[in-house]
Every structure is written in C-alpha cells, then in structure tokens.
C-alpha cells in the first residue's frame, strides 16, 4: 500500500520528479567525479613513474625533468654528459641508472634512446619487468632498430619489420625528415605506463642522427635512477650534492613529491569544481523538496481521505519521506552512471595522451559517503512536506477547494 502510494506520487508529477532525479544524479556524479579524478589521477601518475626514485638532468625545473624523462611530455631542459652518467651509475647506492635521449619523433610519436639495461630485468612495477612481445626482440646496440611501445604500435598501424624515417624535433615537421632508416624489431609488452606511447631505439641511434651536433653525440637528455633498497639517505645526499652544492645539474627527487606538487598547482581548479558540485547538490536537494512539496500539496485531499479511513499519521509521513528517498535512490543510481561516463572519458584521455592508466573504480570512500549523504539530503528535503502531512487534519484536507 505504501509502495503504491509512493509510486503514484512520483508518477503523478513525472516531470518534476524526473528533474529532481536528474539534479540528484548530476550532483552526485559531479561530487564523485571531482574526488575520484583528483585522488586516483595523482596515484596513477605516481604509479606510472615506472619505479624510478629520481631523475638526473640539466639544470632546470624538477617537474620539467620528470615530465620529460618519465612521462615523455615537455622538452628536455638540456643535456647530461657521459661523465655525469658514469659518475652517478658508479655510486654504491645506485641500483639502476638508465640513460634517456630524446629529440626526434615519428609523426609526433617520440623516439626515446636508451641502452640495453632498459630491457634487462628492469621492474616498472613490483613483479613486472619491461619485456618484448613474443615474435619480436630487443634492439641491438649500434643498429638502427626500434622496439615500439604497445600504444604507439597500434596507433601507427605498424608490424614487425616495418621501416621508417624519423623526423627531427619533438613536434612533427614534415620537412625535418632524417635520412636514416630504422626497422621495427619488437613491440614492448603493455605496461600501462607512458613507456607504451613511445618508440624505443638504441641511444646511439638518436645521438648520431644526421643533422645532430657532433659535439653532443655522447650526451643524453636525462638519467633515470633507482636506489638500492634500504639506501634511504641516498636521495638526500644526492639532493645536497646536485641541487644545493652544484649548479650544473638538477636531481628531481623524490618523484612522488614532485608529482604531488604538480597536482597541488591545480588545487584552485579542483576547489572551484568541488564548489560547483556542492552547489548542484544543494540545488538537487531544493528540487527534491519542491517536487515532494508540490506532490504532497496536490494530494492533500487523498491524504485526508486516507486519514479518515484510519491511516496512521506515521503512514503519511512514511509516504512523503519514501517519495523523497525514492528520488534520492534513483538519482544516486543515475549519478553513478554519470560518474562512469565522466571517468571513462578521463580514463581514455589519460591513456592515449599520457599513457597513464587511470582506474576510476578503485576504492574511494566518497563512493559510499557520496550516495549516503545525497540520500540523506533527499530525505531531509522531504522533512518539511512530511511535517505538513503530519499536521494535516481530516477537516482541512476535505474542506471545499473554493
């Protein structure tokens, strides 16, 4: 009986009910999206740091170094000499030091030069090492060969054995084609990191391309560094040496803190979005109130008849609150759908543009608190109409309308 009464109330004012449901959905969808995108995107970026603790590069911005060397974004701030590479590689607390050379592309896809160490049991995540898909192999040092990241491979529509001419610079310029020909010999197994978006070639292959300055043939763009387990003071020691005592090079360490710093730059934008989301949530509450209130006013006579037939006041309150709760539940369900839509869009953008895997459905407390609070807001919005229903006397409800 109660269920029928609620359903009738909702259907009787279908338009206002639908608007209220949509607003609740919009409010919840925005609140969850803002929270999840912010927190999960930051964690995704940190995970995509490929397990490296630090990046050594030319004097400049730490963020630029991290974005350039680990995320293959931005331009390189300058070069590191072969002596600098040897120096840091031989430090006792350095586990792995991987050189990175950038400066060329193929139709906008970056060529990244590195050495054979990159494919030798190098973990990009615990238990996961860089490897080449079956049917291919790693490049030979000194040869014009390439191992293509899985995303880039599909984007370019290549196959093993494809040959290509690289283009000079990080941006595609059709007039800047190099004469050298590279051959695809393997595809990097998917890592869900920015490594999937680039073409990996031997370091010397990029350094010695025609048109490059011969004086920089042995230089590299950056060195990715992983410290030995337990070498906790290593980062601080190198930070003092390179960043404070030194004036030539920059050590970007710790990578997670630098990425966190990047996200904190967008705090104002996140706050603006949050404020907007909360505003929509409040408007949604007002809409639920308006819908339930008008529904209750229109059915005043029905409610009075129910009272006359012996319905308890609590029954009427339950009917009104049930109506607002139903709007809340429907809105929450739709809100999750909206969140899924927004999250999928963000996921695709991050995957294709940056190579970062974003998992929107990873556990986040807002996924529970958001719907609970939205539901509470909807029920609270039905409180005043419920109070009116409670106070409605049979005589008032059945009195002539004119």
């Amino acid at each position: 009986m109660l269920f029928l009464l609620i359903r009738r109330g909702l259907r009787q004012h279908l338009v206002s009910t639908a608007v209220a449901v949509l607003l609740v959905a919009l409010g919840l969808g925005l609140v969850i999206s803002v929270w999840v995108v912010r927190t999960e995107a930051e964690q995704s970026f940190t995970r995509s740091a490929s397990g490296f603790d630090a990046v050594l590069g030319a004097r400049g911005s730490k963020l630029q170094l991290v974005l350039n060397a680990l995320f293959h974004q931005e331009v390189s701030p300058g070069n590191v000499t072969a002596e600098d590479f040897k120096d840091i590689k031989n430090l006792p607390f350095v586990d792995r030091a991987i050189p990175i050379v950038v400066g060329d592309n193929f139709r906008g896809v970056r060529l990244v030069g590195t050495n054979a160490d990159f494919f030798e049991n190098l973990e990009y995540a615990p238990g996961h090492v860089y490897s080449v898909e079956p049917g291919g192999r790693t490049f030979k040092i000194g040869e014009k060969e390439a191992v293509v990241g899985s995303l880039a491979f599909h984007q370019l529509g290549w196959s093993i054995g494809t040959t290509f001419h690289p283009f000079h610079g990080l941006d595609y310029d059709v007039n800047a084609q190099h004469s050298e020909i590279f051959k695809v010999v393997g595809v990097l197994a998917p890592t869900n990191t920015p490594a999937d978006r680039v073409i990996w070639v031997p370091m010397e292959g990029v350094q010695t391309l025609g048109g490059h300055d011969p004086s920089t043939f042995t230089e590299m763009s950056a060195v990715l560094i992983r410290f030995k387990p337990g070498a906790k003071a290593a980062g601080l020691m190198l930070d003092t040496r390179y960043n404070r005592q030194g004036k030539r090079l920059t050590l970007a360490w710790p990578v997670a803190a630098i990425l966190s710093d990047l996200f904190s730059k967008f705090d104002w934008f996140e706050r603006a979005l949050q404020a907007l989301a909360y505003l929509v949530a409040v408007v949604a509450g007002a809409s639920v109130f308006s819908s339930v209130y008008s529904s209750m006013s229109a059915r005043k006579r029905d409610l009075a008849i129910l009272r006359a037939l012996g319905a308890h006041k609590g029954f009427l309150i339950a009917a009104v609150l049930g109506e607002s709760a139903s709007i809340g539940i429907l809105g929450c369900a739709l809100g999750f759908g909206l969140f899924g839509l927004i999250a999928s869009l963000v996921q695709e953008i991050l995957r294709t543009r940056i190579g970062v895997l974003f998992d929107p459905w990873a556990w986040n407390p807002i996924m529970v608190w958001g719907p609970v609070l939205m539901l509470a807001l909807s029920i609270a919005a039905g409180a005043i109409p419920a109070w009116r229903a409670y106070r409605l006397s049979v005589a008032d409800g059945l009195s002539p309308l004119s």
């Binding site: 929270w35 912010r38 927190t39 930051e42 940190t46 000499t81 002596e83 600098d84 120096d87 840091i88 980062g235 601080l236 930070d239 003092t240 040496r241 390179y242 404070r244 005592q245 030194g246 004036k247 030539r248 090079l249 710790p254 997670a256 803190a257 630098i258 990425l259 966190s260 710093d261 996200f263 904190s264 006041k313 309150i317 407390p365 807002i366 608190w369 609070l373 509470a376 807001l377 029920i379 609270a380 409180a383 005043i384 419920a386 109070w387 409670y390 106070r391």
Partner: protein, 168 residues
C-alpha cells in the same frame, strides 16, 4: 506529542547537515594526508652532511667540518649563515692549526674540483685534507687561521672538534 515529530525532523535535518560537513572535513583530511609526499626541505641551521658547524662572524657564514675516519680525511664545506646554501670561494688553501694528542700541527685543506657540481679549483665550497692521525683521533682543538669569504675576512677562529664553536 504535537511537536514531537517536527522536532524529530529538525533533528534529522541538523544531523544530516552536520554529517555532511563532518564527512567533507574528514575526506579533505584524508586527501591531504594521502598526498603528503613532502619534498625534503633543507634543514635550516643543520649542517647538510651532519658534520661539525663552525660559525663565522655574526652568523654570516659557516664552515662544516666532516671527518672520514676510514680514509683519514677532513672535509670543509663553506656555507651561508643558515647552512642552506653552499658558498664558493677562491681560496687556494684553508689552514687550520690543530692540537691533538698533546701535539701541535697545521692542516692544509686544498680546494676540490667536482665536475658533477661544476666546482673548480678557485671556485669551490669544498676543501679537503688527509692525515693519518685523523683516522684515530676523534677529538681535537683547532684555530682557522685566515679565511676570506666574499668580501669578509675571518681570522683566528677557535673551535673544538666535534663540538664546534656555537655559542648557544
């Protein structure tokens, strides 16, 4: 009885509102805690290598002495008053008169070049010397004879190692 239900509604409303703000505050706190990968900041007034700080002038500069007992070396880093920045100087030698094991001696610390930091002899903040007695002696007294940093000159700066010469 008449006012019981309205009051109950208001209480529910107030509780819902309070819960909303409480949870918002809690989630904010969680988010802040979850992203607090603090970039290590230089420890102000702490020697960067954990050595012995020797104040020069009225907190104008510092000299950090670092002994390596295994190698028998003594390093001296020239730092600013807050021990945040390294100061490169052109000195050809840094002389320290020392008294150890009842004997008097003079340590001559020479400028060190480092390609990684870009320091060269004549433009460096690091001075180094080696002496066998530094392998076994961990306490000694010293006097820095002459030291010119930027346009300041310091003379006869007495100190104890590893205590330093801080007046605090």
């Amino acid at each position: 009885m008449r006012y019981k239900m309205p009051i109950a509604f208001l209480v529910v409303l107030a509780l819902a509102g309070s819960a909303w703000f409480l949870v918002r505050a809690r989630i904010n706190a969680t988010a802040v805690a979850g992203t607090s990968h603090d970039i290590p900041k230089p420890h102000q007034d702490q020697p960067p290598h954990g050595g012995t700080p020797i104040g020069l002038g009225e907190d104008q500069f510092n000299l950090e002495l670092v002994r390596d007992p295994a190698a028998g070396t003594l390093k001296a880093f020239v730092l600013d008053g807050e021990m945040e920045d390294f100061i490169r100087i052109s000195a050809k030698v840094l002389e320290i008169d020392v008294e150890h094991e009842g004997r008097k001696d003079t340590l001559k610390l020479l400028p060190v070049a480092d390609a990684a930091t870009g320091e060269t002899v004549g433009d460096t903040c690091l001075f180094l010397t080696q002496a066998d007695w530094l392998k076994r002696v961990d306490h000694f007294k010293g006097v820095i004879k002459n030291l010119a940093i930027q346009d300041q000159k310091f003379q006869s700066i007495a100190f104890s190692f590893p205590e330093g010469n801080t007046k605090d």
